[in-house]
Symmetry: C2
Subunit: 363 residues, 2 copies
């Protein structure tokens, strides 16, 4: 986001300052959970198809309309992600029993970035936890684009692999587009292929896969019974992997969507009109309380490190939204960490299951 957006730290702690490298996003999905609520699990309410036969449970009904409560409901992504993993586990097991097929996810990691290695390890662990078979390829930083393409081609042809994920970023000497476009559209569980994005944008078309993070955002709204139809929504950020698909998803569910970005002149004015805010810019505490309409629902995708001398690591993670201020004004909000983060991997598992079901025509 650019200069037109105000950017200060709203933390009450004087020791907390922004890293110079605050644009770097932490994508780990299993950081410490700041907030935890015991949710009502008695009522059935899972509207998504992939969980049709699982032991669905429900989360509190939250209204996106004006609320007078002074503390927002916490949208507990870690808990929802756990529920989803349980549902996927049941489905994987049912599929194996019925037709003897185990869904498989291949992850290609190039180079030795520590953060990438962590994400890949987390994905592998998540696969194992639900019974999805994981295939992993680690290639050296200096390998060629052709070598990566060869692995993709092999996985495209391998019937035991239903989803293929290339961990980003790739080394600079490789053409990311060439590599991502080489993944078979039927196995593009990241949903980043332009054909998927196009289908997402078009009425009457269905994408094969919805990108994991925006899918996770919408899933949180669904699971918390937050109505989308007819609501004013503002998406902050227009990246290919979060902002743009999130806006298209919200529009597909009949929200009236505005996209705020680095060139928006008064992002606060427009954001303050929103019933639902999805923020995905990677700027710590950018969205202040003054940006938020009373009773709005906030999905905070940002995971930003800020200095914190009191933490053993020397920093802590915060969202794009100033949580302390927002939680007094919003009706519901995702914490960081423990909000959208855990949902991304859950949706990757969901997409892999979907791919396997589709390939084997298993309902």
């Amino acid at each position: 986001m650019a200069s037109s957006m105000k950017f200060t730290d709203c933390s009450p702690s004087a020791t907390v300052r922004l890293f110079p490298s605050a644009r770097t996003r932490f994508r780990s999905s299993d950081g410490a959970v700041l907030f935890h609520r015991l949710l009502d699990r008695s009522r059935p309410a899972f509207p998504r198809t992939f969980v049709s036969r699982s032991s669905a449970s429900t989360l509190p009904v939250i209204s996106a309309s004006i609320s007078t409560q002074s503390t927002a409901e916490v949208i507990d992504g870690k808990l929802v992600a756990k529920q989803i993993r349980e549902e996927i586990t049941a489905e994987v097991s049912r599929m194996k029993d019925a037709i003897g097929v185990v869904p498989g996810l291949a992850v290609i990691l190039v180079g030795d970035r520590k953060d990438s290695a962590t994400y890949v390890r987390n994905k592998k662990k998540a696969c194992e936890s639900v019974g999805i078979k994981s295939f992993e390829v680690n290639l050296p930083e200096d390998c060629t684009e052709q070598e990566v393409l060869k692995y993709i081609s092999d996985f495209n042809d391998d019937p035991s692999v239903h989803g293929i994920l290339v961990q980003l970023p790739l080394p600079k000497h490789m053409n990311e587009q060439n590599i991502l476009h080489a993944v078979s559209i039927e196995k593009d569980v990241d949903g980043f292929h332009p054909l998927n994005i196009g289908r997402l944008a078009m009425r009457g078309e269905e994408p094969l896969f919805v990108p994991c993070t925006p899918k996770g955002c919408i899933e949180l709204l669904h699971r918390y019974n937050i109505g989308i139809k007819g609501k004013r929504a503002v998406v902050i950020g227009r990246s290919n992997i979060v902002g743009t698909p999130a806006a298209l998803l919200l529009q597909g569910e009949d929200a009236t969507v505005s996209v705020v970005h680095s060139r928006t002149k008064d992002p606060e004015e427009l954001t303050r009109q929103a019933d639902i805010i999805i923020s995905a810019v990677g700027k710590a505490n950018m969205v202040k309380g003054s940006w938020i309409k009373p009773g709005a629902v906030i999905i905070d995708v940002g995971i930003n490190p800020v200095e914190d001398a009191s933490s053993p690591r020397g920093y802590r993670l915060v969202g794009d939204v100033c949580y302390e201020e927002a939680s007094k004004i919003a009706s519901a909000i995702t914490p960081v960490p423990g909000g959208v983060g855990p949902m991304t991997i859950a949706m990757l598992l969901s997409n892999t299951l979907t791919a396997a079901k589709r390939t084997h025509n298993f309902q």
Copy 2:
């Protein structure tokens, strides 16, 4: 658009009432021109690549900021379309002289709808006027989907055909998606393929073709030097062929875009915030003066018939925007007819030229 949108006729004539079938859109691009201005042709200002070598000319500078003028500048689509056809004529001629290739457009018409036949005839005439070769196939209403697919396949393989257009709507017994997706992506001059829409949506990706009508809208803004970057834009309507790609194009040019549609609760409130309004809903005079911010620029895609006893035809064509009211408030506005309509065919010719140039790697 649905019930939440107010819909009355703002015409001063008491005899003018809406047709019961006002949702039917007239797409003819050569209706009578309501407005005509002699434009300054002295300065070069064509930012689009396809006219890089042609005799570019400029149109008046119009500010989208607040204006005190009581009558909006008329954005003369008929004149701009004529200029573009002249530029294309020059390019077609240059290409023929240089490499002996003549761009070719194939149009497939199924059935005997009078309006469709008119559009196809107009497209053919437009091709002839710029030197593009046109191929036409007329199939009977009761032909099979297979027959249509066979023609598409033949045109896909024919090197003298650079663009393929299937006139819509198709007879009800055919699957429109199957047929549109059969057109080779390199020849999809309508730009309706999801892969093109996806590339339009994604930063860092380029569509092979931009759908003609929204491309025409943006081209009008460019030719009138109306700035888009940083502006608030509202697109009314979210169709696959106009609203959605228009919103994506505006966002790609750094506008802050909101999409208003049938489920929007207060379309007037949001529309009134816009510096640029593109309306594409097909509802006569829906957008009143009260919806418009002083100085806004209005691109009116709607072409709607309203009863008019004084006309020999018994009706006249009006836009989605109440022109009489809007022209007193806006800084610039497209008339109907003579605004966006003529641009659609001009952009089809432009896309066909682009296809031929790309195929033959001709700059």
